[in-house]
Amino acid sequence: MKVLIVDDEPLVRYTLKRVLESLGDTVVLAVDGQQGLDAWLKVSPDLTFLDIIMPKLTGPEVLIELGNRKTGKVVMMSAFTGEQSQETAKQVGADDFIEKPFDDIFAVVKRAKELV
């Protein structure tokens, strides 16, 4: 499975990559929204972990920009807790929303992979 991780927090990227790779997935990383958009169009991921608040382009902006070019399933993440973020995720067409920090990284990955 091709997985794209778009997050400006290095350790989140690193950990998700480590977990996914240990499960045999191919992982592509992007450090901000703009890079994420570019990578998305390039690799057409099956699953994307997309942070909301990022420099240059935010997560929702990336989805809006993609429009119908969007491929695979999208899990939005944010360290901003509360219903506001979840609502935003839904509005821009994310398939799931996960609050940071994760309670269990394996559960998060499992739930995401199940979407696909």
Partner: protein, 676 residues
């Protein structure tokens, strides 16, 4: 010698004798006139000149003698001859002594003898006459000489008198001059009104009938005062009734008399009033006097001679009084100022100071007195003021107080260059404490507003840390034995955790640093770029919603500030910008360098694309407690505090805004080392 005939008058009743006479005189140059009686003889004598009078025997002796006496009186020069057979001695004596007879002829006349007699008599008469004439001439000359002498004597006397009188006048004049000089000298020695008036009082006592003078003047404090002496006692009356107006010296005005009578509650005789000076309410000196006519004229003359020195000396005394008053007024003004004020020289010696500066001076140095320091107070603005010639401000700590010291350079002697400064110490201890509290309050509110952002900032790395830890726990339990590669991986994983934890710690540290109450610190030199860089992370999460452009000037912009206060300003501006953009927008933060007003300026602009500020609000945003935010977002002091901080360091803060387009805040601060 005789050019004219001898004039002979012959009185005779003897016609025969006359005929005989004529014959005997024939050939003799004689003008003979004969008369037959004394009456006609007298008539002739009165009208004609005669040289010889002859009376013959035809008359009585007495009549002849009388006629000759008559002839003597009327024609004294004529020689008197009588024909007489004089018998007695008495008649002869009488003829000689009284009549002054020339000849008594008692014989008959032989022609020869007679001729001789007549000619001799005529000769005698002429001699007598010429002698008389000479005598007359001499006596006339004498008379003239006498007159001349008399005139000369008179002239000499006159001259002597005039010389003496002029000498006397000179003496008098020099006495007057000496008197005047003495008077002027005494006036010049008087330093106060009382003495001065006393001197004039003594002077006018020289004129009998003048009372001690009264002076009406205005004191430097504006009080109308009348001063005089009663005996040796000084009498002073303050009044609100202004004395009658007068343009020039005047005497005997009822108005003056009544005015003085009212003021001193006693009747006044005639008064001479003399205005001294031409001010709106001139000073006037009054002299009460008891004389009139000539004496008044003398007195006025006396005054005229003295008016100039009187005026000049009074001017001087009033000026001195004014100066003393002004100096005292300044002293009182300075002492009544609650803040310490002091004049300090280039060597930090106290020249003058007010009571607030110190009550008991301990040494010459300002720092010793104010701060009990042996060296100069750190941050003292004196040297800067002296070297630049401009006023400067800075804060110093003295004992338990904080002073804002305003230092103003002054020239003590005109043209002598700047050698001293006036220091005004404003006690800002309380202000400073209140200000710190206010800033703290603002920070706490900001921290509250940022709570969500802070949580985000911390949650992000925590996500990684926790997740990776979970993964590693899982990893460790799945395989007991580690290959070298696995070990390397593990080490790298743990390093990542360490890094993230460190980042979190930094966030917390930043936050703590920001939220901690600041210490009262001194101004230092800081880079504006550094202050901005330090502030940005605090707002990172808030800014993440927006596109951010940070353009920092390549040059270090060194400004002289308290960095944590300026950081607070930067924070305020950034937070405002973030809060103004409800939708994701664009935030541009830039620093740059500019030159104007002979200075180099560090400039920071914070530009947002938020809702903007209504024009009507733009004037008020820098006022304390003005806010358009909700209570949970701000206290309303952020911008007023920012303005206060920036202006404190000689900077400016300004705003340009358009509703629904955005707002740009600009702050400028002078760059250190670029002041002219």
């Amino acid at each position: 010698m005789n050019s004219s005939p001898a004039k002979v008058l012959w009185i005779s009743q003897n016609d025969k004798g006359i005929e005989q006479l004529r014959q005997s005189l024939a050939g003799v140059d004689v003008d003979l006139r004969t008369e037959s009686n004394f009456e006609s003889g007298q008539l002739f004598l009165k009208n004609q000149e005669v040289e010889v009078v002859v009376v013959d025997k035809s008359f009585k002796f007495k009549d002849s003698s009388d006629f000759l006496l008559f002839a003597k009186r009327h024609m004294p020069s004529a020689a008197r001859v009588i024909f007489s057979s004089a018998t007695n001695e008495g008649e002869l004596v009488s003829l000689v002594n009284e009549v002054g007879i020339y000849r008594v002829v008692d014989t008959g006349l032989e022609s020869n003898v007679f001729k001789e007699l007549v000619l001799g008599a005529a000769n005698h008469s002429r001699k007598t006459k010429s002698q008389t004439k000479i005598l007359q001439e001499i006596s006339l000359q004498n008379k003239k000489l006498e007159e001349l002498t008399h005139n000369l004597e008179f002239l000499v006397e006159e001259r002597t008198r005039s010389v003496e009188s002029s000498r006397e006048q000179d003496a008098q004049q020099s006495k007057i001059m000496r008197g005047l000089l003495g008077f002027i000298k005494n006036l010049s020695l008087a330093n106060i009104i009382d003495d001065w008036l006393g001197v004039i009082g003594v002077e006018v006592r020289k004129i009998h009938g003048v009372s001690p003078p009264v002076l009406a003047y205005t004191t430097p404090a504006g009080v109308k005062r009348l001063v005089t002496f009663r005996g040796k006692d000084l009498i002073e009356v303050e009044t609100s009734h202004i004395w009658p107006e007068l343009q020039e010296m005047r005497a005997g005005f009822k108005e003056d008399q009544h005015y003085l009578a009212n003021i001193f509650s006693r009747p006044f005789a005639n008064v001479v009033a003399v205005p001294l000076g031409k001010t709106r309410i001139p000073t006037v000196i009054y002299f009460e006097y008891l004389f009139s006519g000539a004496s008044l004229a003398t007195f006025l003359d006396f005054l005229f001679q003295r008016i100039q020195p009187i005026m000049l000396s009074l001017d001087r005394i009033l000026l001195e009084q004014q100066t003393r008053f002004a100096s005292k007024q300044w002293e009182q003004t300075f002492d009544s100022i609650q803040d310490p004020v002091a004049i300090i020289d280039f060597d930090y010696n106290l020249v003058r100071h007010n009571k607030s500066f110190t009550q008991s001076r301990v040494s010459g140095k300002c720092h010793k007195n104010l701060a009990s320091r042996d060296d100069i107070c750190p941050g003292c603005p004196v040297i800067k003021s002296l070297s630049s010639g401009n006023s400067s401000v800075s804060r110093i700590r003295a004992k338990d107080k904080i002073y804002e010291v305003h230092s103003y350079p002054i020239e003590v002697s005109p043209g002598g260059g700047i050698t001293n400064v006036i220091n005004h110490y404003v006690d800002v201890t309380i202000e400073r404490k209140l200000f710190s509290r206010l800033v703290q309050n603002e920070k706490m509110v900001a921290v509250g507003a940022l709570a969500a952002n802070i949580a985000h900032e911390l949650n992000n790395p925590l996500t990684g840390i926790r997740s990776l830890a979970q993964f590693l726990i899982h990893d460790v339990s799945s395989t007991a034995q580690k290959t070298l590669a696995q070990k390397t991986q593990l080490s790298s994983d743990l390093k990542e955790i360490e890094n993230a934890a460190e980042r979190s710690q930094k966030t917390i540290k930043n936050l703590l640093e920001f939220s901690q109450p600041f210490e009262i610190s001194n101004v230092g030199e800081f880079s504006l770029n550094e202050i901005v860089s330090k502030t940005l992370p605090l707002l990172q999460s808030g800014m993440r919603d927006h596109r951010n452009f940070v353009e920092l000037c390549k040059e270090d912009l060194i400004v002289k500030v308290e960095s944590h206060l300026v950081q607070q300003v930067v924070f305020n501006l950034l937070l405002n910008a973030c809060q103004a953009m409800r939708q994701p927008g664009q935030l541009t933060i830039s620093t740059s360098k500019s030159f104007h007003d002979d200075k180099a300026w560090a400039q920071l602009t914070v530009q947002d694309t938020g809702h903007g500020i209504a024009e009507s609000d733009q004037n008020q945003i820098f006022e304390p407690f003005f806010t358009t935010k909700g209570a949970e977002q701000g206290t309303g002091i952020g911008l007023s505090m920012s303005k206060n901080v920036i202006e404190r360091y000689g900077g400016k803060i300004s705003v340009v805004s358009q509703v629904n387009v955005g707002t740009t805040f600009t702050i400028t601060l002078p760059i250190v080392g670029f002041e002219k």
